[in-house]
Subunit: 418 residues, 2 copies
């Protein structure tokens, strides 16, 4: 039968009762004849508790020691899940990342997986055991424990699925799939039965926090069939019914069904924008502005530079609101004088709304429909940026919900695809 990887989030592992539920679900798959590798996260709140202890001792703890501490949350989870499985008669064995081993580089707290040796896991599977592997962590060439950064368990699961050639990687989470937009804002939001890898990438990076973006990249790179499912369905729900739920991330555009033009409306709150005015239009300017910002560890999201007029242009970008002041300080300090630029202006009260859909490649008029919809609601567009499969606009943050609802309706997203 098939080799399947399951991944369970921290909420699913959040209590003894919930761990029992996970065990029942895994047992159901195992008893149906599948070979199972399970990657559970730390119990919810545990990683934060551990990192909190470390930060009480030192504001910027040593990253290697932080990984030593933070990696224990998943180690507890794998042991508990193995015990829960044995308690219901399913043979199981747990491994920490270093035991598999899952080899990474030595970038503590944000390591990248280099390789996975699956011999040990495969031997256990062949002996009929469910194998439980810690997410979020690995071991570097010198034998130090590393972690992959927040949400890294998704990446671990997809990486294990890729390394072992698993038929499918099932990501169980506390939502039941990917929606056309956030149902808390648009009650009519609809679950997508499938989404392409490229769309998922845009949705994830734009704030639909269903899957960690790196895991989606990994799934794309190694063509891992990945499905997002709810861990809140009854654990004994029939397999076929369980598989029909959730959202499948595919690597081909649907052939047999009409593809919706737009898959969903993504958005990001708590953004801020910064514009450096009157920048000389010459090579290297973008780097001179963003280099120091990146060095200050400020993540930049949208970047926009328009056609220059009289050799001068305006250079804009967005950052998360929490890093707005830091970015302004960097630019105001050394960058502006060196650049010979004009004023630096910013606005910490903006939001970003995007329409995403692989279908827009072959459909004209998506942008104009989006802009008309916003205009009819009286929402001013401050910035625009586009890619092959998405159009993003920056608007005043107070209009965010209104914009998302209006766009969801304008693109008929509440209607099932026919």
């Amino acid at each position: 039968m098939a080799l399947i990887v399951h991944k369970y989030g921290g909420t699913s592992m959040g209590s003894v009762e919930r761990i029992r539920n996970v065990a029942q679900r895994v047992a159901k798959w195992h008893r149906a004849g599948h070979r199972l590798v399970v990657v559970p996260s730390a119990m919810s709140g545990e990683t934060n508790r551990l990192i909190g202890l470390a930060r009480e001792l030192q504001a910027q703890p040593d990253p290697r020691e932080l990984d030593m501490i933070a990696s224990t949350g998943e180690q507890v989870s794998v042991g508990l899940l193995a015990i829960a499985l044995k308690a219901i008669g399913v043979d199981a064995v747990s491994y920490a990342g270093w035991q598999v081993p899952i080899r990474t580089d030595d970038a503590f707290t944000k390591a990248r997986i280099a390789s996975i040796d699956d011999a040990r896991v495969r031997a256990d599977l062949e002996a009929g055991r469910v194998v439980i592997v810690t997410g979020f962590q690995g071991v570097d060439p010198a034998g130090h424990i590393t972690t992959l950064g927040r949400g890294g368990s998704d990446t671990s699961a997809v990486a294990v699925a890729a390394a072992m050639g698993a038929e499918e990687c099932l990501i169980y989470t506390d939502v039941d799939g990917v929606y056309t937009t956030d149902p808390r804002i648009v009650p009519e939001a609809r679950r997508l039965a499938r989404i392409t890898f490229e769309e998922m990438l845009e949705m994830a990076s734009l704030g639909s926090k269903v899957l960690q973006i790196r895991s989606v990249e990994f799934a794309g790179k190694y063509k891992v069939r990945t499905r997002v499912l709810s861990s809140l369905t009854p654990p004994d729900i029939p397999l076929a019914e369980e598989m029909a739920s959730g959202t499948l991330i595919t690597f081909e555009e649907a052939q047999t069904m009409e593809q919706a033009v737009i898959s969903g409306i993504a958005f990001a709150r708590d953004e801020a924008k910064i514009t450096v005015m009157n920048v000389p239009d010459r090579p290297g300017v973008a780097y001179q502005i963003l280099g120091p910002v990146a060095e200050a560890n400020v993540d930049v999201d949208m970047i926009i530079q328009n056609q220059s007029v009289n050799g001068m242009t305006d250079f804009s970008f967005t950052v998360s609101r929490a890093e707005y002041q830091k970015a302004l300080d960097v630019l105001g300090g050394s960058v502006r004088p060196k650049l010979g630029a004009g004023d630096i202006v910013g606005d910490p009260k903006i939001a970003k709304v995007s329409v995403v859909g692989i279908g827009m490649r072959s459909h004209v008029g998506i942008a104009s429909r989006m802009f008309r919809t916003l205009s009819e609601e009286g929402i001013n567009i401050q910035m625009i940026s586009t890619s092959e499969i998405k159009i993003s606009v920056v608007i005043e943050d107070k209009y965010l919900e209104l914009a998302v609802r209006a766009l969801h309706k304008a693109f008929d997203l509440e209607q099932p695809v026919g």
Copy 2:
């Protein structure tokens, strides 16, 4: 300068504030020029919390998985202590047992240390770092995590000290040394400046829970100079003063000072005694009785069999009160009929009191003074057992405190040794 091993108990590591205190004490030793290896326990309560989670899932969890879970408490501790040291400018690095590696057998939850490879630790020490190693755990030949059982961090510390030829192993705990008896029962109880290894062994196994008995055995086997110290003194107390506190476990009888005849009064509450009456006096009988008891995982303490009369004898032993009924069930079930023995009688309300002292080897009259003292207090002696350096008696449990106080006084233990 000297290579010193420090061990800190769970109470000493129980909060961020206390971990800071430990770091300050370690830093003081490091700055005095010593090379330091530190073995901290899990934060107090943590190991119980983790094992409690496992037992909620299954009453008898798989031992391998239990070790996977329980070993994380110490891993968190070593990381936190490394961060606390770095926060005050002392370079430090932490290792889990498998990283050192500390190699053990595969007896999960009660593994024995087989060997310790000190190359990695030594390299860090030479680079000027404090090295922090998880107590309580190691790795078996197949690469599984093992634990050494309760109190195993003491054993880890002594084993590391032995493997590295450390000058001394300092066990910091929440008492300031070994006392002539429990000060909660006898306020005049006096701290012993030194105690021989053999006496410590008797004191530890008899219920003076200062050091885990296996760590004392280890210290004896490898002649590790071990000192029990309080972690409650101010961390910046001068080194000489700190060394003068606590109790040193020595391997030679004192040459230059008068040795007290008796070092202390040990005791064990919550014991129970069982006697199998009219046992045929023939080879193999003791095994026929205690074999099934041991198989039921009941720990037996004292064992007494007196001279037989007319080919029949009575066979008695003591167990912890919690296991009294279990032991009775085992004996009443299959053992008695097979043995052709008489009644089985027991008493779950007894206590054991012992006088311990290497000096008694060369002094007559210790036993008679002990028995006279108890007689003068009207305390009946139910059973007697002796070794080279201790005499133990079983008495009714309600007389325990009275007996300990009377013996402490009768042997002049409140007086400093002159």
